[in-house]
């Protein structure tokens, strides 16, 4: 293998400026995304979720029957103890109210997604606010900051000491059973997790050298908290949010089981469907199995993606 002199020179020059490509830099987020794309777990998770989201978005327009159409009752095929199973017209059969299960599953995807996402956002927003303020106060705030932090954290401790179900049930009692209630109740349960996570992360970031560097540049503390400490503390919170999406869906189902789910049968939600199927387990267990499997697969999708994100965003694996 011989290379001509000019080529050699070129090669060496290129090497001397190895990274001198006229390209924009790759931020840590982009890096993480690249790693994510290479992770098979992430791909499986993302695939599940894509299907799920697609179904949630367009499915309701394509379903064969209305989700509240109690045709089985009209037709008189539903009797106590008799619920017809799958047929050519009704792929998943009727439910106990004589409605088409397939249509309800499809329409339910949207509600399920909505509950998961909004509940997580609520938890995230409240938790991140408390945790962010506490973390910034503790990390940068001096003596007053420590006091603010202590007060907020004691509050979080109290929330933690409350059994989560009691919290959810009492929220539901206060607000009445509705979709919003489920979202708020499930969201509130994850508040302490987000708050503690963000706070811990921010405190550790606040001790790092680049914060000191910014201070020495003369940047204000509030600005440091927002532009440096917060963005660098977000990774674990984002991962947690993804994982919480999964648990939120499951917990919404648990709330439905306790009779606190969304009452509006026009917008079926898988958790509610699962809960509603309980009295008919003896007649047609499939009524419970369809939504349960839906929930499990969706939760699995979020969890897979979350775990993959955890790996992708892990600073230890950063190279």
């Amino acid at each position: 293998m011989t290379i001509t002199g000019a080529k050699k020179k070129e090669k060496i020059d290129r090497l001397a400026e190895v990274t001198a490509r006229d390209e924009r830099g790759v931020s840590l987020w982009q890096e993480a995304f690249r790693r994510l794309r290479r992770n098979p777990a992430a791909i499986v998770g993302a695939a599940i979720l894509t299907v799920f989201v697609l179904v949630a978005l367009v499915g309701p327009f394509l379903v064969p029957y209305g989700p509240t159409d109690t045709m089985g009752i009209r037709e008189g095929v539903i009797k106590p103890g008799v619920i017809p199973g799958p047929s050519g017209d009704h792929w998943f059969g009727y439910d106990h109210q004589g409605r088409d299960v397939f249509s309800r599953m499809i329409v339910g995807a949207r509600q399920t997604l909505l509950v998961g996402v909004v509940a997580t956002l609520i938890g995230l927003a409240v938790g991140a606010l408390i945790g962010g303020v506490a973390g910034a106060a503790a990390g940068l705030g001096g003596r007053w900051g420590r006091m603010v932090d202590t007060v907020l954290m004691r509050f979080i401790d109290m929330l933690l000491a409350l059994p989560s179900l009691l919290l959810a049930v009492s929220i539901a009692a206060l607000l009445g059973a509705s979709l919003t209630t489920v979202m708020i109740a499930v969201g509130m349960v994850s508040v302490p997790v987000f708050a503690r996570l963000l706070r811990g992360s921010m405190i550790s970031q606040a001790g790092s050298d680049y914060v000191l560097a910014s201070t020495s540049l003369g940047v204000k503390k509030s600005k440091i908290a927002l532009t440096h400490v917060l963005p660098n503390s977000l990774a674990p919170v984002i991962v947690q949010a993804t994982l919480t999406l999964a648990t939120a869906i499951i917990e919404a189902a648990a709330l439905s089981f306790l009779g606190l789910g969304n009452p509006d049968s026009a917008v079926p939600e898988w958790g509610v469907m699962l809960a509603d199927a309980q009295p008919y387990l003896g007649v047609r267990p499939a009524l419970a199995i369809y939504p349960a499997v839906g929930i499990i697969i969706t939760a699995l999708g979020f969890t897979l993606l979350g775990e993959a994100m955890r790996e992708a965003l892990d600073p230890k694996l950063r190279k």
């Binding site: 509240t68 539903i78 106590p80 103890g81 009779g259 049968s265 509603d276 309980q278 007649v283």
Partner: protein
């Protein structure tokens, strides 16, 4: 090897034959039925205690209990009871007229916290107040005095004529307790402070009656209550040696427990499970329907609802037959009156509202209420004997209403206390489900409870109707009273304060080899007759 299945294998032929474990939906609250108002406490009381009069087996008619006969005096205010002789309480004390008076006087002379409405709920429900009312809001007592004329004759005097007597005396709350035990265990000493009531020892661990079973143990930690055979029972002795009530609140869990052999019977069977369980060979008993499910319409809620036409439209809009066929247990019926057919005073000749969407629509149009939106309350997390699956019913009724052009805003609430609170107080509710299971076989116990005065639940004021109720209540003559009930039923169905929906027969199930229990419309099942067939 496992302990459980070992026992199952050999036990089925040995000691298990005379031990029945029965699954119930909730823990009993108290063992002294004087203080009880919940079904589970009363179920226990029915096995341990007896009352002067009791419902006939499998029916609602007043029949002899500890009293062999009873007769009112001419005014209808004093009743003479002839008692059975030779009856003994579990502690060996004799049952006699003296004992009856001790019991009635104990209730009548209640003092302090025993007058609290949550302690003596049924007494207050039936009798009103006490000898000395400590609270001004309490009404005067219906009960006046008790006189033991001889060993087996006792006179109960009342302040006025009431439809409740003697039927209400069938209630387990009027069970006869041993005077000695009452004394010994300080039964009337409801201690503590008003917000911190503590039951006496008698009520928590020493119920002493004359029933076929004796109280043995109450294991709160294991949610079981154990009764054993009263070997000295005056009548036919119980076939079971031991009867255990085990609390399993979840309906599916009860079914699974029955199937796995952990229990040999349970109450509150889901309607959907009746057929499957039957086909599996379990003994599913259907109680005669002694209840009513109605759709209440609150006339204070939406002003349009005060319009009879709108109420009629609602009644026509609902396909009650489809609902009964698809959602209620076999044997359920569409209701025409606010009370079941088995109660005297039932009237088949009232205004009927058949399912007719077109009619409903036109009635609405006539009333100028084509664009009606109604708040529809329904309870969650509950099964009542008259309402096995409220949410399902709601969905169907709501679909029917929508089909007739009435928009529905669903408001699901937890049964206790949110739902009850919301539907029976205030005026911020338009439609809701509620119902009633009769305490005893008198019509007043149904319609009187609902309509004898102005109530937040219905939000209407109909003095004429209320007057008629008063008259019925104070009519001593049975036949005259029944006639009044018939009239009232017709009036009510014309006025249509709500829509009576159905009477559904609640089911109770026993293991494949359990026989001898007769289902009672009043849930007065007698476990003394239960036995394992060999």
């Amino acid at each position: 090897g496992c302990a459980e299945s070992d026992r199952d294998d050999e036990g089925s032929s040995g000691n298990k034959k005379d031990t029945l474990v029965f699954g119930v939906a909730g823990d009993p609250k108290v063992l002294d039925p004087s203080f009880a108002s919940d079904g589970e406490s009363l179920r226990v009381a029915r096995q341990v205690f007896e009352t002067l009069v009791r419902p006939e087996e499998g029916g609602t008619k007043v029949s002899p209990g500890l009293a062999e006969s009873w007769t009112p005096d001419a005014a209808g205010t004093t009743w003479t009871f002839k008692l059975r002789s030779g009856v003994k309480f579990h502690d060996g004390t004799d049952f006699n007229a003296e004992a009856v008076c001790v019991n009635f006087n104990r209730w009548y002379n209640a003092k302090g916290l025993m007058q609290s409405p949550d302690v003596t709920a049924y007494w207050q429900d039936v009798m009103g107040g006490f000898a000395a009312n400590e609270d001004d809001t309490l009404p005067p007592s219906l009960f006046k005095s008790c006189t033991a004329k001889d060993e087996t004759t006792v006179d109960l005097a009342f302040t006025r004529v009431s439809s409740k007597i003697p039927a209400a005396l069938m209630l387990p709350s009027f069970s006869m307790h041993s005077p000695k035990a009452l004394e010994q265990y300080d039964a009337s000493n409801v201690a503590g402070s008003a917000d911190d009531i503590k039951y006496p020892a008698y009520a928590t661990g020493h119920p002493t009656g004359t029933g076929p079973f004796k109280f043995k143990a109450w294991d709160i930690a294991n949610k079981t209550l154990t009764l054993e055979r009263n070997e000295d029972y005056a009548g036919e002795k119980a076939k079971l040696k031991t009867l255990i009530f085990q609390t399993i609140s979840d309906e599916n869990a009860r079914k699974q427990a029955l199937r796995s052999g952990g229990i040999q019977g349970y109450d509150l069977v889901g309607p959907a499970d009746v057929e499957p369980l039957k086909s599996e060979g379990f003994n599913v008993l259907t109680r005669p329907a002694f209840n009513i499910l109605y759709l209440a319409i609150n006339q204070k809620g939406n002003p349009k609802l005060a319009d009879l036409k709108v109420r009629q439209a609602i009644a026509h809009a609902i396909n009650r037959q489809a609902l009964v066929d698809s959602k209620l247990p076999p044997g359920a019926q569409v209701a025409v009156n606010f009370f079941p057919e088995t109660v005297e005073g039932w009237n088949g000749d009232v205004t009927k509202y058949d399912y007719n969407v077109e009619k409903a629509k036109s009635l609405l149009a006539e009333a100028g209420a084509s664009n009606l939106t109604l708040k529809f309350h329904y309870p969650t997390e509950v099964t009542r004997p008259y309402m096995p699956n409220p949410k399902d019913l709601f969905e169907l009724v709501s679909a029917d209403l929508q089909a007739a052009g009435i928009k529905v805003e669903p408001i699901p609430l937890k049964w206790s206390p949110d739902y009850l609170n919301a539907t029976t107080s205030g005026s911020d509710h338009d439609l809701h489900f509620l119902g009633w299971t009769g305490d005893y076989g008198d019509g007043y116990n149904f319609i009187g409870t609902f309509f004898d005065r102005q109530k937040d639940e219905w939000g209407f004021n109909n003095p004429a109707l209320f007057e008629k109720f008063k008259k019925a209540d104070t009519t001593a003559d049975q036949a005259a009273r029944v006639a009044l009930y018939k009239e009232l039923n017709a009036d009510i169905m014309n006025f249509l304060p709500g829509v009576p929906i159905s009477h559904s027969p609640p089911a109770i199930v026993f293991g494949k080899d359990v026989t001898g229990v007769k289902a009672s419309p009043l849930t007065d099942e007698r476990f003394a007759t239960a036995e394992f067939k060999s």
